[in-house]
């Protein structure tokens, strides 16, 4: 469904991604782990071209998307993204946050968009917050709204960029709970996270990155149970 081929990304002289070949299949939950600065967030942001790759291709549903003439806006409609810092729109209510894109981008009528939004709010357990503004919510609630907002576009894949890293510990569970439900519903997901327990439980495949390359990948049992590479062992030794 999503594939990267020989993906490179540099910021100035600093090469962050040094040739990434990654394939995510439909319905698969791929969790990317690795030390800070290993390039995992950059990789995720390259998938929906928030970062434009320096070299290599990103293929989505059979189409190379990092070409100038490709309509990226259309493709991004099908790729939901959830950010570490939530990025809810502070000048809109929760309901407006969720419905603005379906209404403006998909030209959905307001009633339909509201119905979808309320349904999603129900699913993330925040139906009573529809009329609130983001500033009135806790971090965990904001992130659940952000997930609902991305889902409102009915994406084919969801990208999560350290969704729980900015949360107080007691709120991590509620967000991971929503993500787990989403994974069980068959959503294709790519998740960058530091939550190893979650990665192990929910991931179909774990990818360990370090220094801009994929060092090792495999099932959670393989990676957490019997890592092959020194660097993987070293990293897991520190975080587990």
């Amino acid at each position: 469904m999503i594939e990267t081929r020989e993906l490179h990304k540099s910021f100035g002289k600093n090469e962050i991604l040094k040739g990434i070949d990654l394939r995510i299949d439909k319905g698969e939950v791929v969790v990317i782990i690795g030390p800070s600065g290993s390039g995992k967030s950059t990789l995720l942001r390259c998938l929906n071209l928030l970062e434009v790759p320096t070299a290599g291709d990103v293929v989505f549903e059979g189409e190379v998307i990092n070409r100038k003439k490709h309509n990226m806006n259309k493709t991004r409609e099908k790729m939901g993204m959830v950010f570490q810092s939530f990025n809810l729109f502070p000048h809109m209510t929760v309901l407006e946050n969720i419905t603005i894109s379906p209404i403006k981008v998909k030209k959905m009528n307001k009633e339909e968009a509201n119905a979808i939004a309320m349904d999603l709010l129900q699913k993330v357990g925040l139906a009573d917050k529809a009329a609130s503004y983001p500033s009135q919510l806790s971090g965990g609630q904001k992130q659940r709204i952000a997930i609902a907002r991305a889902l409102a576009m009915q994406p084919h894949v969801m990208l999560f960029d350290e969704p729980t890293s900015a949360l107080d510990p007691e709120m991590v569970g509620e967000v991971l709970g929503v993500m787990k439900g989403l994974a069980e519903s068959g959503m294709t997901m790519a998740i960058v996270t530091h939550e190893m327990g979650f990665a192990r439980e929910v991931g179909d495949r774990i990818i360990f990155m370090d220094g801009g390359v994929i060092v090792e990948q495999g099932s959670p049992e393989q990676i957490f149970g019997s890592p092959q590479h020194e660097r993987t062992k070293d990293f897991l030794g520190k975080v587990l």
């Binding site: 991004r76 939901g80 950010f83 502070p90 983001p134 991305a150």
Partner: protein, 234 residues
């Protein structure tokens, strides 16, 4: 002898005097206020539109547009409004481009304020967190839509006080158009001065009217800010 005493009394009763001057010459003052208000409002309106164009050029990815915008802003902020006004009114007429006094005043005031407003807008736009635009783009919104629905409303809100200041400044600075003979509040005040053979009372009257205008405006801006900030920011 009597006149001297009377003059002394008048000086002591200056506030009564200002009041009387305002009452007696209120039609002159009010007609001046009318001109000042319409010049300021139109100047602000054109200035805002031009300022938006300038800031869009300033942040665009096309370099020549950026250069034009930066040059415009630097030149108009770096030269006096009086000089700009004279160039428009006297200078251009040498080349057959003649405008009415009001037209010249409006062009000078709006072109001048556009430069300041463009810088204010730029600060506001750059103050909006990058993540906001990224979130909008990740939801499939294009650049223009993101700017219109996500970045601009937040930028506008954060620079509203600065815009308010600029509007107040414009009202005060329009007084400069009196020198080309446009009958604004300051020009009418000078007429009242020559009619009464006094300076202080008519000038205090003018100050009173300017203050009423600017004070009303700043209170209006504060009210608008409060309305927009109902929903606090995170």
């Amino acid at each position: 002898m009597f006149t001297t005493i009377r003059q002394e009394m008048e000086r002591e009763l200056i506030f009564v005097n200002v009041f009387e001057t305002i009452i007696e010459y209120k039609s002159g003052y009010l007609s001046g206020v009318g001109t000042t208000v319409s010049l300021s409002l139109l100047g602000v309106l054109v200035g805002v539109i031009l300022g938006i164009v300038l800031v869009l050029m300033r942040i665009s990815s096309i370099k020549p547009l950026r250069w034009i915008s930066v040059t415009y802003i630097e030149v108009f902020r770096g030269t006096p409004l009086l000089v700009q006004l004279f160039i428009v009114y006297f200078g251009l007429s040498e080349y057959g481009i003649s405008t009415s006094m009001f037209g010249a005043g409006l062009i000078a005031v709006s072109m001048n304020s556009a430069a300041y407003l463009a810088e204010i807008f730029r600060a506001g736009i750059q103050g909006v967190d990058r993540g906001q635009a990224e979130a909008a783009r990740s939801l499939g919104m294009g650049r223009a839509m993101t700017f219109r629905h996500i970045v601009m409303p937040q930028a506008f809100r954060s620079v509203l006080p600065a815009i308010g200041n600029e509007f107040v400044t414009i009202i005060k600075e329009t007084s400069i158009v009196s020198v080309i003979g446009l009958a604004d509040l300051m020009f009418e005040t000078n007429i009242i001065r020559s009619k009464t053979y006094t300076a202080l009372a008519p000038l205090l009257g003018a100050a009173f009217f300017y203050f009423i205008m600017t004070f009303t405006l700043s209170k209006g801006i504060v009210a608008l800010e409060r309305k927009l900030n109902k929903d606090d920011r995170n």
